[in-house]
Symmetry: D2
Subunit: 160 residues, 4 copies
């Protein structure tokens, strides 16, 4: 199973704003859809300990916890227009912390000819009742490390 | 005129997702609305050179250029729920480059009791015909520097 | 208390699509926000039976039931553009059935100079567990009849 | 070429609202995406007069005119939840007027097992400069009549 997962992104006419390009906010929704599909992937050979190969990353979290977005960072590199054919989003793990993990993304043409955006998110696992961060368990850490690849190669960084 | 501008944010029922909180993507739309209002502010005492006090930042850009979002960074600090009363978003300038400028934002309760998110954006001025970056003019630089305040005090930063 | 309730609608820059007007889909979100505010109105003199004047229409429904949109009809009469100042939406009851009720809406300039859309919705009350329609109770019927006004004066109707 | 065109609808996680179902407003965006794809269909054997088989319905309109939504009607018949696999939307013509035409839609499981919604829209062709309705031309009328099928079988109608 590759470290980097790839999913199609189907644009909608309404993703464009009055400037005639896909709105910058909409890209964050594409990240969300990639995350949701990533969380629903069967672990396969990333399964470890109590986790079964047919389990998903979401199932390793269990019903008592859920993951929250703690931060996003996104860099836009080319204007994008609506079209019926899908784009491709790549998603991978860039870091695993005590109760959090980091994801990297690239939104690009399926043939790799154009990259529209690079992005990164930090996800925190919290207890559903208390809302407080909780430790990732062994199965989660194993799976996340399995999908770990390079940090996101952002071109520029703002000084806060 | 204060360096930090404040605008109300009116939530919509549809801003909540199936987790029962305002969706993280929606916060980026709040940033957009603050930016749009910021660009439509009369320059007042930030006017300089050819610019009149009644001109807006948008008008200093002129019809041949427009500003694009080059990057966003956002840090979420508290869950937010739909309610009829508005939130408050603060927006200010954190940096002025050759053909770009940086904005900082805070989304918070109007009474300052809770901060929901801190964010930063880099905006690039481009030529409408060529799509290439163009230099900020003197009136723009003067106005942007007038609204310049502290960098955004993000709590954590991912290593790419 | 007037039969017709009025609420402000705050537009967002992102409500416009690439044709440069507020997208037709977005109007339905304005209806939703008006409905949500309508359901949260204190009953005041529309209170009857077990209902208190401070209760809302939502509270007369109780935790075991909720209301679903069964149908919408909307007629657009003028193009609308983003602007910072709010529009006004009027909402009223046009019919009360066994387990359903009908709402009428008008989206217009606050000064009444332009009407952008007329709309109507049928809401059905269903049991949260079974998902099946359930009878409106006496307090609900009394309140809904209290807010009842004229049918929506649509100009044209398609023959299905 | 069949009279009824069918397109996939790809749901997004963010289409669900805090009730945990796809929000009623979002269905209207599905109609929009079906319309956009319908307008981009090559005419094929629906081509007539000056129109070529490779032309689209959009191209028969020409650059001086565009089509506006004048009204929508939608009836919801089953709750819908987010899932990665696409739904299917059917779209067809239900009427052709002087400067307008009517569309019918059904949103359903691809295997036809469940219908989630029926809908109808009236589209008006207007002049881009004056904003006034303009007559459909011969090629448009021929193509629209070619795709004409039964009226939408709505189950209930509100009395305004």
């Amino acid at each position: 199973m590759p470290r980097i997962q790839r999913f199609p992104i189907h644009l909608r006419f309404g993703d464009e704003d009055s400037y005639g390009h896909v709105n910058n906010v909409r890209f964050l929704q594409y990240l969300e859809d990639a995350r949701v599909q990533f969380m629903h992937l069967p672990l396969s050979e990333a399964a470890h300990g109590d986790a079964k190969a047919s389990d998903t990353l979401l199932e390793t979290i269990g019903p008592d916890h859920f993951t929250l977005v703690a931060r996003h960072e996104i860099e836009y590199s080319a204007p994008l227009n609506y079209r019926p054919s899908p784009l491709e989003i790549s998603i991978w793990v860039t870091g695993v912390g005590g109760s959090s993990f980091d994801l990297g993304y690239q939104i690009a043409e399926p043939d790799g000819s154009t990259s529209y955006a690079l992005a990164a998110s930090t996800m925190i696992q919290v207890n559903r009742t208390t809302g407080r961060p909780t430790k990732l368990n062994g199965a989660q850490r194993y799976a996340l490390e399995h999908w770990r690849a390079d940090p996101v190669a952002f071109r520029r960084r703002q000084n806060g």
